[in-house]
């Protein structure tokens, strides 16, 4: 599929087959193409070229109204003049469902989303979390074949986000629908599990089981999309059996199942594999000048400079290093990922 708008590429030639069960997560930064891809799937937009298939049928030209799709957005969208009950019931009213059935289905979904005590209120009388629960309930009540959730947790307070994220998988667990959720937060993708499509500049750089593409990203772009804080990336040379990062930082190139042949590579090292404390063998020392330390109580994120490059270390506990201080860090070399000149994982 390709989507161009006034000559600008929004979705670059992309093919994905989404999973029928569990979440399908679209992971990428703003403007990576997540929303466009969802609009194409929903039928709100038409692809410039390519096709959308659903359940073995080509639905490319099928109007939105003729598809059984539900969508939830980042903004809490509800009918302000309707009660929570009527908000949830609205798709059933459109489908002219019998009153008794409407009542039963709305109550069932409300119970699931813990909205029962709020059914008579207006959306404006609800907290942000409850407003988004109402929007989710409306998506669930109509038994859609395809549910599209466009960053549904992004506008929620930290704790509400955590709570709803925890509940989401169970809400969809026993439903016969395909679920696609967009997010820009790698941790959110991991915790929701399922499958993930990493997106970068309108292109799916990898699709697969979420934990797998996090642990073995096929390419550097996916590794970058799937790391927060940003993954450390540096050019290295393999020579005389060593991986050489700089004059002072090198480590043995063996110790992998398949040894790295000599040559130039890009190494990718996740921030939590760069530690301010030496933890046993298998670590390469790297010295750097501390730029900034962020301590969040349970962990420390230290930004430091080594040569021309900025590095990030993320570790448990409190390591209060001062700005400008020279400090030693330890790279867990067994966890390093190597990419070739095209950015493909070796």
């Amino acid at each position: 599929m390709v989507k161009r708008v006034e000559g600008e590429i929004h979705i670059d030639e992309t093919s994905v087959v989404f999973a029928e069960e569990g979440f399908n997560i679209l992971l990428g930064t703003t403007l990576a193409g997540k929303t466009t891809l969802m609009q194409l799937m929903a039928g709100l937009e038409r692809p410039t070229s390519g096709e959308v298939w659903f359940g073995g049928k080509n639905v490319t030209g099928v109007a939105v109204q003729k598809r059984n799709t539900a969508m939830v957005y980042q903004q809490f969208i509800n009918y302000p003049n309707f009660s929570v009950f009527e908000n949830i019931a609205s798709p059933l009213r459109v489908a002219r469902t019998r009153d008794a059935e409407v009542k039963e289905r709305v109550h069932r979904v409300a119970e699931l989303l813990r909205l029962t005590p709020m059914l008579n209120r207006r959306p404006s009388e609800l907290s942000g979390g409850q407003q988004q629960r109402t929007a989710l309930a409306r998506a669930l009540v109509k038994d859609a074949d395809l549910v599209l959730l466009d960053e549904p947790l992004a506008n929620l307070d930290f704790k509400l986000r955590e709570e709803l994220r925890d509940e989401l998988p169970a809400l969809f667990a026993h439903r016969k629908c395909t679920v696609v959720l967009a997010t820009s937060e790698p941790t959110e993708a991991l915790l929701l599990g399922g499958h993930t499509a990493a997106l970068h500049e309108g292109r799916v750089t990898q699709f697969g089981p979420t934990a797998e593409i996090y642990r073995r990203p096929a390419n550097l772009l996916t590794a970058r999309v799937f790391s927060n804080p940003p993954i450390n990336v540096a050019p290295v040379v393999v020579e005389e059996g060593n991986v050489v990062l700089s004059e002072s930082v090198k480590w043995p190139a063996h110790g992998r199942k398949q040894p790295l042949p000599g040559g130039s590579y890009t190494v990718g090292i996740r921030p939590h594999h760069v530690s301010p404390i030496a933890n046993g063998a298998g670590a390469a020392e790297i010295e750097g000048r501390v730029q900034i330390t962020e301590i969040s109580g349970s962990e420390s994120v230290i930004h430091f400079e080594h040569g021309e490059l900025s590095w990030v270390s993320q570790s448990h506990g409190v390591h209060a290093l001062q700005v400008g201080e020279k400090a030693r860090f330890y790279i867990d070399v067994a966890r390093c990922m190597y990419f070739d000149g095209d950015g493909v994982l070796i």
Partner: protein, 355 residues
């Protein structure tokens, strides 16, 4: 810059407040030293914005005083308090260049052009805005505009305090962490007093030296990020800070230990007196719960992979216990038992830490 003192402050939006719920801000005494980095943290409606508005002078408190360096400013209007504010949505002069935006407060004060030039350059360098000085502010991204808002506060030498009200709300998620680091760095370089208001624990903890945690108009704890994490004063702080938050488990006190569903659990703060009639709970963070050969038997309900570690949901009867297990460490498949690190396991009575 200034030391800020809040003295016996109370505020109600009701004309005649009668019951506790009428007070948006319950009694509050607070002192912020000159040059500190502070955060006001709490959920929506906790009173943090009311407090901010009282400090800036937009709201006159029902009771109490606001002092800057010991001088009572409670009745002083906002424009004479010398405060710089950065709001959720960037406020810039769209038609002006970045340079003129930064120079604006100084020109207003009639400074000599040469001084303005030097000051604007210095601040632009700190904010990484130097290459954009000649550009129109309208063309900048949200994070660039937010830097200008902040820069207009930083160029002035007469500012008592810089107040940031949820300044990262409209910033792209992947730029948030960069701007967060930048704010922290700027504070360390300029040592201006800064107050950062947010509902986001990560923003508060990474920015501030001291965090004021608020709930329902009350300050529940003031502490460094480490204190809030390691020794929450209240179960609300334990829950609100940390992800996932602290386990709060109903229990019974028993000498120097607690009885958790009949199992003895050692605690760091055995009560010195009786806790009769109070709701007694055990607080322990998921980081300090471990699988072991002894302890409380549990069923494992769910394991979520967070990459660096896994979040395990375990259950013993009605009790739900969360654990964090490092990536690579084993999770027992059957007959699981959990133990609690006694140095990080504490008793709470009616929500408050037992002293």
């Amino acid at each position: 810059m200034a030391r800020i003192t809040l003295e016996k402050l109370r505020h109600s939006y009701h004309p005649r407040p009668a019951q506790p719920a009428d007070w948006a801000l319950k009694q509050l005494d607070l002192e912020w030293s000159d040059g500190g980095a502070y955060a006001l943290l709490g959920p929506s409606g906790c009173g943090k914005t009311t407090l901010l508005n009282i400090i800036s002078g937009l709201v006159r408190p029902t009771e109490g005083r606001v002092l800057f360096d010991g001088v009572d400013l409670t009745e002083t209007p906002t424009d004479r308090r010398h405060i710089a504010q950065v709001f959720q949505f960037p406020v810039v002069y769209d038609t002006m260049t970045v340079h003129d935006n930064l120079a604006f407060p100084l020109r207003n004060r009639g400074l000599p052009e040469a001084d303005i030039e030097a000051r604007v350059r210095e601040i632009a360098r700190m904010l990484d805005l130097e290459p954009m000085l000649g550009k129109r502010a309208a063309g900048l991204t949200a994070d660039g505009k937010q830097k200008i808002s902040l820069g207009r506060g930083l160029v002035r030498s007469d500012v008592n305090v810089i107040m940031l009200d949820e300044p990262l709300t409209v910033i792209d998620p992947h730029l948030k962490s960069q701007l967060r680091s930048k704010l922290r760095e700027l504070h360390q370089r300029t040592t201006r007093t800064m107050i950062f208001v947010t509902h986001d624990q990560i923003e508060a903890l990474t920015f501030a030296d001291k965090v004021v945690v608020m709930q329902e108009g009350t300050v529940v704890q003031i502490g460094s990020p480490v204190e809030l994490f390691e020794r929450p004063n209240h179960t609300f702080v334990g829950h609100f800070i940390g992800s996932p938050g602290m386990n709060v488990l109903p229990c019974e006190p028993s000498g120097d230990a607690a009885l958790l569903a009949g199992h003895r659990v050692r605690v760091d703060n055995p009560p010195s007196g009786p806790l009769d009639g109070k709701r007694v709970e055990l607080g322990v963070r998921p980081e300090f719960v471990h699988f072991g050969g002894e302890g409380v038997p549990v069923d494992i309900v769910k394991v979520s992979d967070a990459g660096r570690h896994r979040i395990v949901d375990a259950r013993h009867g009605e009790l739900r216990i969360k654990l964090l297990v490092d990536d690579g460490s084993p999770i027992p498949s059957e007959a699981a038992r959990v133990t609690f690190d006694p140095a990080h396991t504490r008793l709470y009575a009616d929500g408050w830490l037992v002293e």
